[in-house]
């Protein structure tokens, strides 16, 4: 099934993401963001209560939306692929590496008060000084570290 192109262009996805942020603010007065959605979902599963249930619904929605793309692309199907990183590292190494990177991201995003969605898109759109500072920081660190890894691995990664 080729209902969706291989990769929908940035000039379609970007403005629609912006409008999603606007709609959630304009209708429900809520800030879109993934980190707190993770936190509230975790709380809902572990403690059987969430302070903000709307965030749990948003988390569920994101899963459904991404799953729908998989269906439109003829899947989803289980895979152990992980792009270039997956071709360079064996599964036994990549699992702890990715889990660890996830811990680092979760810790940092929670402390920072947001991630690429909450600070990078929602907070930047609101022109929130905290989000502008956070986004500039994580962009700079991520680009610098990616270049460092590229150099250390002799250009393989």
């Amino acid at each position: 099934m080729d209902i969706l192109p291989y990769r929908v262009a940035w000039y379609i996805v970007g403005p629609l993401m912006g409008l999603t942020v606007v709609a959630l603010f304009a209708i429900a007065n809520k800030p879109l963001g993934a980190t707190t959605a993770y936190a509230e979902t975790l709380s809902a599963v572990v403690k059987h209560k969430a302070r903000e249930t709307w965030r749990v619904w948003m988390f569920l929605g994101m899963v459904i939306g991404a799953f729908a793309v998989g269906v439109l692309r003829g899947g989803p199907s289980l895979t152990l692929d992980y792009g270039l990183l997956g071709t360079l590292l064996p599964v036994a190494l990549i699992i702890p590496l990715l889990f660890g990177a996830g811990v680092v991201m979760g810790f940092g995003a929670r402390w920072s008060g947001g991630c690429t969605s909450g600070h990078g898109i929602r907070g930047m759109s609101a022109l929130s000084p905290a989000s502008i500072a956070a986004t500039m920081t994580f962009m700079a660190v991520a680009v610098a570290l990616t270049f460092a890894l590229h150099l250390v691995t002799g250009g393989e990664l």
Binding site: V104, M105, G106
Partner: protein
């Protein structure tokens, strides 16, 4: 309200997967500055939303839940320190919270491990006594608990 946030989540998750942000190589090429697409996508999202939100805020737009509040926060040290840590994890994993979720929803087994890490990292941060981080947080304005 839950229906609105569910729908916003569906659209956002759909867009992230449709743009292949849940593909390690797409994010890796972005962070190696090999292609501008993801930066342009974020820029066009902000370029679309910022003027509309600015208009709504200056016109005191009424939502289902009172007058619109864009949750603008002053910069505190934790915003920057946390973001630096987040950026390091992002560079290694080549994915972040929504794309990791979209990976997993698309059948990626390794995406589930990233999500497991994210949940653990968030829980770890929440479990730490805030007082143990107070020396680093000294400049945080009282009551600044930005949610995103």
């Amino acid at each position: 309200m839950n229906r609105v946030s569910l729908l916003a989540g569906v659209v956002f998750g759909f867009l992230v997967a449709a743009a292949r942000l849940n593909d390690y190589d797409v994010i890796h090429d972005m962070l190696l500055l090999r292609e501008p697409d993801v930066f342009l996508m974020m820029g066009s999202a902000i370029g679309t939303a910022a003027p509309i939100l600015w208009y709504l805020r200056t016109h005191h737009w009424k939502t289902m839940e009172g007058e619109i509040d864009l949750r603008r926060q002053p910069v505190s040290r934790r915003n920057v320190a946390g973001a630096a840590i987040f950026g390091a994890g992002w560079a290694v994993a080549g994915t972040c919270p929504v794309p990791a979720l979209a990976m997993s929803a698309g059948g990626s087994v390794l995406g589930v491990f990233v999500m497991g890490g994210l949940f653990s990292g968030i829980a770890l941060r929440d479990a730490l006594d805030t007082r143990s981080l107070r020396p680093l947080l000294r400049r945080t304005p009282p009551g600044a608990t930005a949610k995103a």
